[in-house]
Amino acid sequence: MENYTLSINGKKQEVTAPEDMPLLWVIRDLLDMKGTKFGCGQALCGACTVHLDGEAVRSCSLPISQVGEGKITTIEGLSEAGDHPLQTAWVEHVVPQCGYCQSGQIMNAAALLTKNPSPSESDIEEAMQGNLCRCGTYNRIKDAILTASKSL
């Protein structure tokens, strides 16, 4: 067991965890923030996507010992009032079906837009292919990202 000081959504958080504990379980179990989801545990589905220094990472496959001083952002910290252009576009396009994959989709899309504020359709497909949606909301996700990119 080690002590770690994490910076999550602009706040410092102290946790004690074994060094191999994936950031996902630190967030969900130790910090009780439930917006970040578990889908596969193997970096195959993207449900657990958070930002580490602005980059999209799969928190299920990132041991806490590798987080270091990095700034972590989760869906809860993406915007203060839940009005990030992507969140607004998600509601406008009524993207979610079951909704379970959507935190990860939005976090992944947010990292994409930071790097590439006006992505083409194929840029979006390329960047989003690590995020699975079993309900089949891919088309609306794409539309919502395009809408959000226009309002940036």
Partner: protein
């Protein structure tokens, strides 16, 4: 306990909860008990991810509940109970919309709460079989109309006018002539002394006056989901709760001989190891599998603890099971004689008299549901013998019963809270994982959340069965289709190691209800046995039946020199209601509905076919490297036709640029959610058609995670999915499952046209 499966069995009509025609209105007879409760919201329930504050002074909101589904507060908030499970269809929005519209509520002042599992109170809550809207459209209208009737009466009395002079609008009663109005909330106090209206006194609004029903309405949970606030199965936390991760029998029927938990218990955070006793064989549909559970302070410790377990298994009779070998045996059996389940004319005669015989076989694999949320459930077994449960369940009643059964307690002692479901598709009907949580909580004496990993989900699903089919079609000398002989075999739902044919209910899903005018028809079922747990997955045996039937019809059209759309229209004949009665061996289920109430109408089918052909510009000349395929299939009482466009790129890769669907689902409640079900259905079906398959060796599933059990990713999804809703005032049916079956053969037929290679086996690579 077997669940009520409306698509597999005729529904009982003798209890107040089965919702046969006679008792549909019964549950809406408001009881005095629910009539008026002051000081709290009468319709309780678990509020999902919503922080609701009453606008009135604290503790003084007066509420009025004319029935269990609707409550009106003096703060002018209308609370509507969603009693069906939300797994992505939007039902948590669609049914309350009907209540709100009939009531005349301002949708922005409506609060939705999720019902707990309580069949006595709410009626059927089994969210399955695409029947929520079909079953509850009328009852929801009545729930709203009852409240409206009383509010109008109260206001009319106050104003000294007749109720006929009043109406409701935007959560006010209005005096039509003057426009004078009073908020619902101000009338709550006055209704206290009023009598409930008799059902025959209720009037329903004209459809054309609806402001929500028949329109695009955003789902209630969109924002809570987009901000990460929505509460799914694993998101419920209780004080002192332990997390359980279970090593389950690797082969269905396997039993634990011995285990050593010393290494597991040595892992920091691991608190307890508990054995779960499984039923062995048959495994059943609602029992936990045998296993060893590691209970820990957090999920990671439980996962590590499970890795450290040492278990000796008696693998039992299924350890030699190999699915590929079984599939070949099943295929072989279809060449023999099966049990005839439907007969028209004399197929054998037609065959000997025919000019041409086409005989084709079709194979489809096992599929896993692979909801992105793996199963998870929370139970708090209390010292007094009661238990409170939170679960993403499609079937709260069955889950409640399974928990009661597993703990040996009365159902009344189980409080079943329903969270949002991170996908269901039939998997989360089965309460095995919910019962696990209850058993473990009781054993540990603390609340327990059982968390399945993706590997657990893929290894221990209730799979969609693999299947083999053979269709023999005969053409006479002039090219008329004279005979249709369909053989089908697959391990049946709930079956076990004893060989059995599929049930009539499963055969009614696409095979027996073959609607075309062919003079000689013979449908035969063959026996097989299940060596894993078999369940239902989005559209059930319609998946493989529609694949075989609609690709075969495409091939027949080609042999006859006909366009497949023209052939389908021709084979459906005159507009008429079909009755299969005299031809069926055993009853025809019609998805639990009487055929008089929901007839099989060829005119409606022709209309969706004509619509999809027109909207997709079916007969257009396509550039080289492009092709279209067509299929039409009715399932769950909903008529669907589909056209898929495929394209080959320079590198030889096939993509799906465009899909057209036409659907007649009767009255459409939330048109945006109808479209989203079809968009999602096309994507779900693309996975079934092109990427997914579960196989078994030595009784064990060979796929572990999304690397080996693949579902499509964004680049593989159809690019554009157009959904054409055929306007209809017929009784509403469902749309959760019907998009899946016709898509797969439409895609296969398109790929054939592009590549020249017919497709006889799923999945096929594109």
């Amino acid at each position: 306990m077997m669940p009520k499966l409306p698509f597999l069995k005729k529904q009982k009509t003798d209890t107040s909860t089965s919702l046969g025609t006679a008792d549909r209105s019964e549950i809406f007879m408001p009881s005095r008990r629910d009539f008026l409760k002051i000081g709290s919201l009468a319709a309780g329930g678990f509020v999902l991810g919503v922080n609701f504050q009453c606008s009135g002074p604290k503790g003084e909101v007066i509420t009025f509940a004319p029935n269990v589904f609707v409550t009106i507060g003096s703060d002018n908030i209308v609370t509507i109970v969603a009693h069906r499970s939300e797994m992505g269809t939007g039902i948590r929005t669609s049914l309350p919309m009907i209540v709100a519209d009939e009531l005349g509520a301002d949708w922005s002042l409506v609060k939705i709460v999720q019902a707990e599992g309580d069949e006595e109170k709410y009626g059927n809550q089994n969210t399955d079989g695409s029947f929520s809207v079909r079953m509850f459209y009328e009852p929801m209208k009545k729930a709203g109309a009852t409240a409206r009737h009383m509010l109008v009466e109260a206001a009319a009395k106050e104003w000294g006018v007749t109720p006929a002079e009043c109406d409701t609008e935007a959560s006010h009663v209005i005096l039509k002539e003057s426009g004078k109005k009073i908020p619902f909330g101000d009338l709550v106090e006055k209704i206290k002394t009023m009598e409930l209206p008799k059902p025959e006194a209720l009037t329903m609004k004209e459809f054309s006056s609806y402001k929500l029903v028949g329109k695009d309405v955003p789902i209630y949970d969109a924002k809570t989901i987009a901000t990460g606030q929505a509460v799914f199965g694993a998101d419920v936390n209780l004080p002192n709760m332990l997390i359980a991760v279970v090593r389950r029998s690797p082969v269905v029927g396997a039993k634990v001989v011995s285990f050593n938990d010393a290494k597991a218990l040595a892992i920091p955070g691991v608190k307890k190891v508990v054995k779960i006793d499984g039923p062995g064989l048959p495994a059943g549909l609602d029992k936990p599998l045998e296993g060893i559970a590691v209970l820990a302070e957090n999920t990671w410790a439980a996962i590590k603890g499970r890795e450290a377990l040492e278990i000796e298994w008696d693998l039992g009779p299924n350890q030699t099971y190999n699915s590929a070998a079984q599939l070949q045996e099943m295929l072989k059996s279809t060449a023999g004689k099966g049990t005839v389940k439907r007969a028209r004319g004399n197929f054998n005669q037609a065959k000997s008299a025919s000019g041409k015989v086409l005989e084709r076989t079709y194979l489809a694999p096992f599929y896993a549901h692979s909801t992105i949320e793996p199963p998870a459930a929370i139970a708090d077994a209390k010292a007094d013998g009661s238990v409170e449960v939170w679960a993403p369940t499609q079937h709260p009643q069955w889950a409640r019963g399974a928990v009661a059964g597993a703990l040996g307690i009365d159902v009344a002692k189980v409080k079943m809270n329903v969270t949002l479901l991170g996908g269901g598709f039939g998997r989360k009907s089965k309460p095995d994982f919910v019962a696990e949580a209850a058993v473990l909580s009781k054993a540990a004496g603390v609340p327990v959340r059982v968390q399945w990993t993706r590997e657990d989900d893929l290894h221990h699903d209730f799979f969609h069965s693999h299947s083999a089919q053979r269709i023999v079609a005969t053409l006479d000398k002039t090219g008329n289709l004279t005979g249709w002989n369909h053989h089908t075999v697959f391990p049946a739902i709930g079956s076990s190691n004893t060989p059995a044919p599929p049930s009539d209910g499963e055969l009614d899903l696409g095979a027996r209800d073959f609607p075309y005018e062919v003079p000689n028809i013979q449908i035969e079922a063959h026996e097989s046995s299940a060596h894993t747990r078999v369940g239902w997955l989005r559209s059930v045996s319609n998946i493989h039946h529609a694949f075989a039937i609609c690709t075969m019809l495409d091939e027949i059209a080609e042999a006859r020199g006909l366009d497949p759309v023209d052939q389908a229209l021709q084979l459906l004949g005159e507009d008429k209601n079909l009755s299969f009665a005299s031809e069926m061996v055993g009853d025809y289920g019609n998805y639990g509905e009487k055929i008089e109430d929901f007839p099989w109408n060829t005119g409606r089918m022709k209309k969706v076919i004509q619509t999809v052909a027109e909207k997709s510009n079916w007969k257009q000349n396509l550039a080289a490297g492009k092709a279209v395929g067509f299929a039409a299939h009715k399932s769950f009482l909903t008529y669907v036709a589909c056209v898929v466009l495929v394209e080959k790129d320079a590198a030889g890769k096939i993509t799906i640029p465009e899909v057209h669907y036409a659907v007649d689902c009767g009255i459409g409640v939330n048109t945006d959610r109808i479209r989203s079900q079809f968009e999602g259905g096309a994507q779900f079906a693309t996975s079934l058609a092109t990427t997914s398959a579960i196989t078994f060796e030595n009784g064990q599933v060979q796929q572990n995670n999304f690397d080996t059990y693949q579902i499509i990713r964004m680049p593989q999804a159809p690019k554009k999915i157009e959904v054409h809703i055929v306007p209809s005032m017929e009784k509403p049916t469902g749309v959760g499952e019907p998009p899946v079956p016709p898509f797969i053969p439409a895609l296969a037929n398109a790929v054939y046209k592009l590549t020249g290679k017919r497709i006889y086996e799923l999945p096929f690579k594109i």
